[in-house]
């Protein structure tokens, strides 16, 4: 225990205040200012043609650099510096004016349709596959580098084959017919560490081996296995991937991999259904509860959204009229949803799905988080009464007491950020326990009464006298200070 204390002591004296500070604040700042001043004064002396020194366009791109030139040449003015400005306005370049192809399809969606087709049917790395006979005639020109022919030979060893593939040459894999040959080839590829080649060999094996055999062999070849998993993930071959993971008994990964899919589902109803299906998956214990929560949350959001959209459209609710919703609540995080519900549905009974208390119960939101969120929402609406009620607890005798699980300094911060009037602020500043923090906050937000009372309780005459200069002359506060100071004197002499 005492050791801990000593450690703490040491810490407070050593590390805490070493955090990033300029040792001599003013001096450091003035140094910067000084060099700034010097620089500025020199501007008068030197002509402003330093752009010629090192030619840079305003965006800082050195003239002649590649990225600068892309803009330059694309806009049609190849070299003239005068074209600089126009090149910066991308809209004027002839390129941008071209009709844009709608590109909303995602990569994965593209993969889903075509890769399977590609891999399952055609991806063979044999020479015959690379000849043009099979090529559809879309291309403007059909030419093929002659060079490819001379690289062809039918009897490269597995090692040579891998080495040639590493150099980007085309090789026939079809010759490797026996399982034995194929595995040697795979092992060679793995030993070469070139993912490009490993993947190519794996695709060949995937096409030519029975699933069970492929899985069995990969189980003892971890590196190759990882490559295949990565490949399947990239190309979106979800079913094959799940089969593989199941075979390997990597159930948690199966679960996560399946769960990931929900991100590709745009329609909320479908997404909800999908998440429902995820609940039974073999996640780790704590992940299971998160997935369950995710599903429940979306379910609630769908109900709330339908209701509130209706309410807003009908224009009956004053709240919605006064504070129209900025966005739909669908797919928002839990805390955001809680804020929303504290904002629009604060007074609802617990039985309602949209009521804050219901959310709190359902998702076991900790007190601290709840108070913080509710406070922010009610303060934003300037509902000071609600703020008061939120922080008031009754004991069994019926006495009330103010309590803030987040600390009253945080309460003050939040209220202040929402422009609470001094009278409201003052009440909570007064409740900040730490005297120094209380004084700081009170001074910062001009809660004079709190400052004065605190100094009074501290019997700090000097500070109190000094504070007199900070309040308005002839104000009630000044009078208060006067009378306290008077009392103090009397106390001292009595």
């Amino acid at each position: 225990m005492s050791r801990v204390r000593a450690d703490e002591e040491e810490y407070w004296h050593s590390s805490k205040f070493r955090a990033f500070t300029f040792d001599d604040e003013d001096d450091e700042l003035s140094q910067l200012k000084e060099s700034k001043r010097a620089v500025n004064s020199l501007r008068d002396i030197v002509d402003d043609d330093d752009d010629d020194l090192e030619r840079v366009s305003w965006s800082g791109e050195p003239v002649g650099s590649i990225s600068w030139s892309i803009k330059e040449t694309a806009s049609g003015s190849t070299s003239s510096l005068d074209g600089r400005d126009s090149s910066l306005q991308k809209g004027t370049s002839s390129y941008a004016a071209l009709p844009k192809q709608p590109s909303s399809y995602s990569l994965s969606s593209l993969f889903k349709g075509e890769v399977r087709f590609l891999c399952a049917t055609h991806l063979c790395l044999s020479l015959s596959a690379l000849t043009d006979t099979g090529v559809k005639n879309y291309a403007p020109e059909l030419r093929r580098p002659k060079a490819e022919y001379k690289d062809y030979s039918s009897d490269w060893s597995p090692k040579d084959t891998v080495r040639r593939m590493q150099r980007g040459k085309v090789c026939s894999l079809e010759r490797f017919r026996s399982l034995q040959d194929k595995l040697v080839l795979l092992d060679e590829a793995v030993a070469g560490h070139d993912g490009n080649v490993i993947t190519a060999v794996l695709i060949f094996l995937k096409r030519t081996l029975r699933r069970e055999i492929l899985f069995r062999e990969l189980e003892v070849r971890q590196v190759a296995l990882c490559h295949l998993i990565h490949f399947l993930r990239e190309t979106g071959e979800q079913k094959f991937l799940l089969d593989l993971l199941r075979f390997l008994d990597r159930t948690e990964e199966v679960a996560l991999s399946q769960y990931r899919e929900h991100l590709n589902i745009q329609d909320v109803e479908k997404r909800r259904e999908f998440l429902k299906g995820c609940i039974g998956l073999p996640f780790s214990a704590e992940d299971t509860s998160h997935i369950q929560d995710h599903y429940t949350l979306l379910e609630r959001q769908i109900i709330i959204e339908a209701n509130d959209r209706h309410l807003e459209m009908a224009g009956q609710s004053e709240l919605f009229r006064k504070y129209p919703r900025k966005a739909s609540i669908l797919n928002m995080p839990l805390v955001t949803t809680l804020f929303y519900s504290c904002f629009y549905h604060y007074t609802e009974a617990e039985g309602m799905f949209s009521s804050p208390t219901n959310l709190k119960k359902t998702f076991k939101i900790p007190d601290k988080q709840y108070v913080l969120t509710a406070l922010a929402a009610r303060a934003k609406l300037r509902a000071w009464g609600d703020v008061d009620a939120l922080l008031t607890t009754k004991n069994w005798l019926g006495y009330t007491k103010k309590k803030a699980p987040i600390g009253f300094h945080r309460v003050v911060e939040i209220l202040q950020r929402n422009n609470a009037p001094v009278q409201v602020l003052q009440e909570y500043v007064r409740l900040v326990e730490d005297v120094e923090t209380r004084l700081n906050l009170a001074t910062k937000y001009k809660c004079h009464d709190v400052v004065i009372e605190t100094y009074r309780d501290l019997k700090d005459r000097v500070q109190l006298t000094a504070y007199k200069s900070k309040v308005e002359r002839g104000s009630a506060e000044e009078e208060k200070i006067q009378s306290i100071l008077g009392n103090m004197v009397r106390n001292v002499y009595s």
Binding site: L32, R37, A38, I70, Y138, G168, N196, L256, H290
Partner: protein, 601 residues
């Protein structure tokens, strides 16, 4: 343009020159006028190899960015696509080719240059779309290691760490090994190889294998490097998570440096002439190149930010004094002398102006309350305080919905500094994060767990204090102005990775065997035989040259720490740094996050 590359101990201009030669050779293969269609990601790295002028000399008349749709109507004979081997890019190319007007005359020839490797998959993909036959030349340009500065090389392979540790895809290691082979071809065989970590072991194995398989590669160049040190990023997961406190590190943390360029908010770089002020206030970000070609930047980049102000003010005085000289110039000769110095002085002045502005921008942030609080928590964790319970500040940040990456950085840092979190603490953070930022982030949290950044403590043992004490990772008496230890780069924390490099040079790893065993992966030493004629006879007092290769990324603060060691008077070792990617905590965590939006293109 590239003079700064030759200013160091190893002349990296040779590497750049080799890259340029290869590029020229390819361009000349496609005879006639050409247009290049760029995969935008590549323009940055290529810009470090060649300027537009080089391309123009080889008849490149137009350049475009790769986008779906019809290609712009340029009157050229060749259209060349410069692309990374990515399937989504192949789709765009396919679209471009299919929309080409077949009626136009003369017809345009298509070519593809894959960077850094040709990919069988991509070509197969193009074939399936029916366009493969349209390309006359399909080649690769192995842009493995790009010279960034006199002592810095990067592969700029964004996903290397993710591929190695989440997907067990070691392709980037293969490229690293190939890059090292190229380097050895230019600068001689490196006699000694040390390494720590699984990936390091793999790369060393591949190098040895490649050397064995190409006996012709035995070269007769006198070795420039004495030692190669391969370091896995996962040996030191801690360092990138902490906020870098060097000048360059902070610029990167706050604004992000890409391919030596940084984009800054324009307000502080207002137009110079006062008369014009207000008329055309710039709205585009100000873009600046940052490298050692700029004298002032070379001097301040690696300093702790707290030491930058005083240097800037000293420089200001010197420059002011230099300009004052003009009043004393009386004779024609003196005036001539002054005028001849003017260009240099002007450059110095504009450099000073820029860095004063940048320093002001950074200072606004480093003096903010939140920066201070964040740093305090980081330093608590790194010095081993309260790493085993839920941290208040992190909870507050979650409650206030600070950016998720910031939260993840802190939670991961705490986890690493505690050799994993107690299950209860981990569950608590997870719940708060999911409830506040969305349940779908469960996928990202899983990735972080897989990468070892966020994990439950197993066996109830926390090794970090032992590692911290043995390697002296936390230094209480740090001197930011005149540092005497590498810990100045994080104002107290000495980066583990660099400590390993330092201890390897002196007194050797044998002294820290126990700690090395606590860190993941094997440590090893290999020797590559040199022909007798090439063996080095070291001059008295001559420094050794060590190449430190960070597999999975390196931060600017770590680079600064290694440069500090290079400059130590009795250090005895100079360091050249290579990496798969220049990273900081934010870009690193981002690369591990699950992409929640479908890729937009």
């Amino acid at each position: 343009m590239a003079a700064h590359l030759s200013s160091g101990r190893v002349n990296l201009t040779a590497l750049r020159e080799a890259g340029r030669r290869e590029l020229r050779e390819f361009l000349d293969k496609c005879a006639g006028s050409k247009a290049i269609v760029w995969d935008e990601y590549l323009t940055g790295p290529f810009g470090l190899i060649a300027q537009y002028s080089l391309l123009k000399e080889h008849e490149v008349e137009k350049m475009f960015t790769l986008k779906p749709g019809r290609l712009p109507p340029a009157d050229v004979k060749n259209i060349i696509f410069f692309v990374r081997p990515k399937l989504e890019l192949m789709d765009i190319i396919t679209d471009n080719v299919l929309r080409e007007d077949r009626g136009r005359s003369p017809q345009r020839d298509f070519h593809i240059l894959f960077v850094p490797r040709r990919s069988l998959l991509c070509e197969q993909w193009l074939k399936e779309q029916g366009v493969l036959g349209s390309f006359i030349h399909r080649e690769q340009y192995s842009l493995d290691l790009i010279p960034f500065d006199a002592d810095l090389l990067s592969m700029e392979s964004e996903s290397a760490f993710k591929e190695c540790y989440l997907e067990s895809d070691q392709t980037s290691l293969y490229h690293a090994a190939k890059g090292l082979m190229t380097l050895q071809a230019l600068y001689g065989t490196i006699p000694q190889i040390f390494g720590k970590g699984d990936c390091a072991r793999h790369v060393a194995n591949m190098m040895i294998r490649m050397k064995r398989e190409f006996p012709g590669s035995q070269n007769s160049i006198f070795p420039v490097f004495d030692t190669l040190l391969l370091l896995d990023r996962n040996v030191d997961l801690l360092t990138p998570l902490a906020t870098q406190l060097t000048y360059e590190g902070l610029i990167d943390e706050i604004y992000g440096i890409q391919n030596t360029y940084v984009k800054l908010p324009p307000e502080k770089f207002a137009p110079k002439k006062q008369g014009e002020g207000g008329k055309d206030l710039p709205t585009e970000p100000k873009k600046l190149q940052l490298n050692s070609a700029e004298e002032l930047y070379a001097e301040i980049r690696d300093k702790n930010f707290n030491a930058v102000g005083s240097v800037l003010s000293k420089k200001a005085k010197i420059i002011s004094a230099a300009f004052e000289e003009r009043h004393h110039a009386k004779t024609v000769g003196e005036i001539k002398q002054f005028v001849s110095q003017l260009p240099h002085m002007q450059a110095a002045r504009s450099s000073l102006a820029n860095h004063t502005s940048i320093a002001e921008l950074i200072k606004d942030i480093t003096t903010s309350e939140d920066f201070f609080d964040n740093l305090t928590v980081e330093q608590e964790f790194m010095s081993g305080i309260d790493t085993d319970k839920v941290n208040n500040y992190i909870e507050d940040c979650i409650a206030q919905k600070h950016p998720l990456i910031k939260i993840l950085r802190l939670v991961c840092l705490q986890s690493v500094c505690n050799s994993g979190l107690k299950q209860k603490v981990l569950d608590h953070y997870k719940r708060e994060i999911l409830q506040t930022y969305g349940y779908e982030h469960i996928l990202t949290l899983n990735n972080l767990e897989k990468a070892g950044l966020l994990k439950p403590q197993t066996g109830g043992r926390n090794n970090y204090p032992t590692i911290r004490k043995t390697l002296r990772l936390w230094m209480d008496d740090v001197n930011e102005q005149n540092p005497n230890d590498i810990s100045y780069v994080y104002s107290g924390y000495a980066p583990l990775s660099v400590r390993l490099a330092q201890l390897l040079a002196r007194p050797g790893w044998r002294s820290i065997e126990e700690v090395l065993k606590m860190l993941p992966g094997p440590h090893f030493e290999e020797r590559q035989q040199l022909p007798t004629g090439l063996q080095k006879k070291r001059q008295q007092g001559e420094n050794r040259v060590t190449l430190v290769f960070f597999l999975g990324g390196v931060t600017y603060a770590e680079i600064a720490a290694l440069r500090f060691l290079s400059q130590m008077e009795d250090g005895g070792t100079e360091y050249i740094i290579a990496t798969t990617k220049l990273i900081n905590g934010t870009t690193w965590i981002k690369s591990l996050m699950e992409k929640l939006e479908p890729a937009p293109f």
